[in-house]
Symmetry: D2
């Protein structure tokens, strides 16, 4: 099916659903999926609307202009985006040395679980090159060192993302902090996996912290990257039961399973255009 | 808020969402929640639409007629119902001797978790009368014995449900099979809890069966009652991990926790008007 | 069966299991259950050993002395306790106004899930008296106010616990901090339920904190009370998935289910003599 | 650490733990881990005992004889096995065309999660050869067709397992039924993964069955292979929540995650010598 997804959010007001679905209907489109949520505490309206483009009167290339004009006429002010099923998104994956999340994403990509292309695997180390080659995905190593060469390296990394026409970035256990320029280039488009059940055990060595504290459940958290470390809007979380029998190494092994699943789920939600951000929270429609 | 919920299902066709949300908008209503799902395998459309009645032009008592006329004019043939927030539903609970599910429902009712009234607790035994009295809920005992008095007893039970103006019936571990007359009187309005993860361990003594088979997880299933035992559309299920250390009695204890939670969740989904039935499946919107 | 449980912990050394099981065997006892764990990081040995007293040569009333003499002879220095199945423990429950955890404990007690007596329900408010009376359990209200009467009130509370011959204390959402005298009187014998997945959301209003942070999973934590608030050794935790659709009130409702289950499980582990504490961690055998 | 694990099971009798731990102690061994369970319904005793061989008086190569003599003298009749940590087991993996379970096992093996060698990947198709080669693991294809060549092919398969000195066999979505000769050659040593929450949805196409029935949770089951299809003792199970939104293909994708985790866990339990079989059940110590 050739369809388009509208992501739409604005302060709540009367008649939004009616107006927009009428816009679709009068132009000959058929609503395939509509998910809508109103946050009554924050008086915010969120909608994800997918319609079949078969028989739709506006050409895809004009739709953005036509819909903007419609909203203007209706005096609706909102944040919105359109995503066409005919265009596959391009995902960049940034890694360091850990391979479990990358492995998992590559496997799922190959198995057809992710409806996207992989634009590049960008690493600050060379260890995972073989893995990328096995899956026939481009791999680029840009070493990054603390010190005066760091800014240059980061500029090269950004250039790689740009030149590979990456639409969004997944940090698959990338072990460095990204500078603000990345956030400006990819607003709400950089997804991280943190190996704890945030906000518990922020920062470094969360499995060690969990072992010390003696928790009975550990977890992983996928979130959008923001300037504050480990503080961005949470996309997805999952947990696994552990016990006193699990030493730190056991927590790491159990955690790997959770990390890769949580990250994969977040990527799927992202690709499905299901994640809305408002304040520091996500709404998953 | 004074609102109304429309449950609506029909074979999929173009423009349904637009038409119905326009109906609401033109009559001065504001959509508060819209959940919609299209089953692409079965080509069926399901929608749960809630709107604020403040400023709505049709009076609640006329709405059914007005909406029917609208659908007729639009040539839309569908199954639909309207539920007004101003009217609390009346729940009958049928029990035998087990008290855990009844306890749980009564506690949740008292705590304000369930937005309904309890019309009657109807039992074929007298053991749970004290419990009902503690919660100040009417209790009636109609003994039912196999044999020639059985039909009479069942007629009396149905009369109790009718006279208590019960809108729907919850079988909170009621240990007998209901005759077809109940199903005709309460179509898709009788909710049962079965103490296994259906379709595993249908029939009697599921915990014994689970112990014999050595499963590592047990569960409970809430479903609508149909003429075929344990075969009705599944509303909700949950599970709990068990081990070889759990003897049958332990499974029963662990199962109680799951049973009561699964049943409570099913009742909440029912009261929220979120359960749609098509074929032998539910769609939870 | 008339049996005894030995809880035993000490720095790891050779031959501990052999020595102690031989002690049992030579005295005519039969090991029914043996659970043992060695923490290799901390070089600590933990053992829970249950044996049948039928045919055992020492009288129960002498066993403590006999076993101590045995250990002395073997030059084994350890922390240990003996619990006889013939003696039911007496549980005090402290509450304020929330009833869900108390309800749950009373229900489970009545249903025979907890093999203990309830010595007293001790509250600083009078609201839950009816509930206690329904279950025919003694209820005492000792109001506690901040200010100069506070110490007196706390002394009266301690006197109640003592006079009711309470063996251990469960804080079933008791909303005040206990002074050190309680901890001295009941070392590792006061169990609290905290309504968050500790260490996330320590302190007050964890559900509000969780809502603000936008987590996708909430939880509850049962732990031993120590002088540091919400920092004691964790006994049990569980979680439940939530979403952006859950407002604070919804989190509270979902949380109640988790709180009561986690607390009940912790009480069962305690009564089963399965919880060992070392450092700030528990070992559940 | 150089250690040995004893797996031991027999009808329950007095003094078993004492006798065996004394045997270890008197020979200079130190118990590192002891897990013991008595099934009171079946009057069966199970024990997994690991001891450090440092300072142990018997040579490893004599231990079997020495322990047998000890049992004879004590008049203890039991089923038992010894496993030396110095000897890595050799795992054969049988596959057809599905790659997700194989991928997962190979990844975990490479990551050091599984303490075993992979003796051979044996397939009836050639598709997964590249994958095996990437991981540098021997791959052999023995085509098997129904008809008169089938018995020959099966004999060749068995020869491959024997010649590769495989200790146990993992069916990682191998899509054929093994003949009895395999079961005789590898008694309780063939582990299968079934893509449903057994005993629900036995036989073919369980995801289709699950979709038809409208269950709200799907699962996977790892079990020992026996002559009755899908009826062997269950080793491990896990589940995942699904909804009406999941079409059969979605169930397959979600199921893959569960299948590979359940199978990996079963393999780890097997390698840890934690699985005991009695009747048609497993006891996991």
């Amino acid at each position: 099916m050739n369809s388009v997804i509208l992501k739409f959010q604005c302060p709540d007001q009367k008649g939004l659903v009616a107006a927009i679905t009428q816009f679709v209907y009068r132009n000959g489109g058929n609503v395939v999926n509509l998910d809508q949520y109103t946050d009554e505490d924050r008086k915010m309206f969120f909608m994800r609307l997918e319609w079949d483009l078969k028989g739709f009167r506006s050409k895809p290339e004009d739709l953005k202009k036509v819909f903007a004009a419609f909203l203007k006429k209706q005096k609706i002010i909102a944040a919105w985006e359109l995503f066409f099923s005919s265009r596959r998104e391009r995902m960049a994956v940034m890694v360091s040395r850990f391979d479990h999340c990358l492995f998992d994403l590559l496997y799922r990509h190959q198995a057809g679980e992710l409806g996207c292309d992989i634009s590049v695997i960008l690493s600050n180390h060379d260890e995972l090159r073989d893995l990328a080659e096995y899956f026939k995905v481009p791999f680029l190593c840009v070493p990054v060192e603390n010190g005066k060469t760091m800014r240059d390296s980061e500029r090269r990394q950004l250039a790689v993302l740009r030149e590979s026409r990456s639409d969004f970035v997944v940090l698959a256990r990338y072990m460095r902090i990204l500078p603000p320029a990345f956030l400006r280039a990819y607003p709400w488009k950089i997804i991280n996996i943190h190996h704890s059940f945030l906000p518990a055990f922020k920062g470094a060595k969360p499995y060690h912290q969990a072992w010390e504290r003696g928790v009975k459940i550990i977890g992983a958290t996928s979130h959008f990257v923001t300037e504050e470390l480990d503080q961005g809007p949470i996309i997805h979380q999952d947990v696994v039961r552990v016990s006193h029998k699990d030493r730190v190494d056991d927590l790491v092994i159990r955690g790997r399973d959770i990390e890769r699943q949580v990250l994969a789920e977040a990527v799927k939600l992202y690709l499905g255009k299901r994640i809305f951000v408002h304040g520091n929270k996500t709404y998953i429609l």
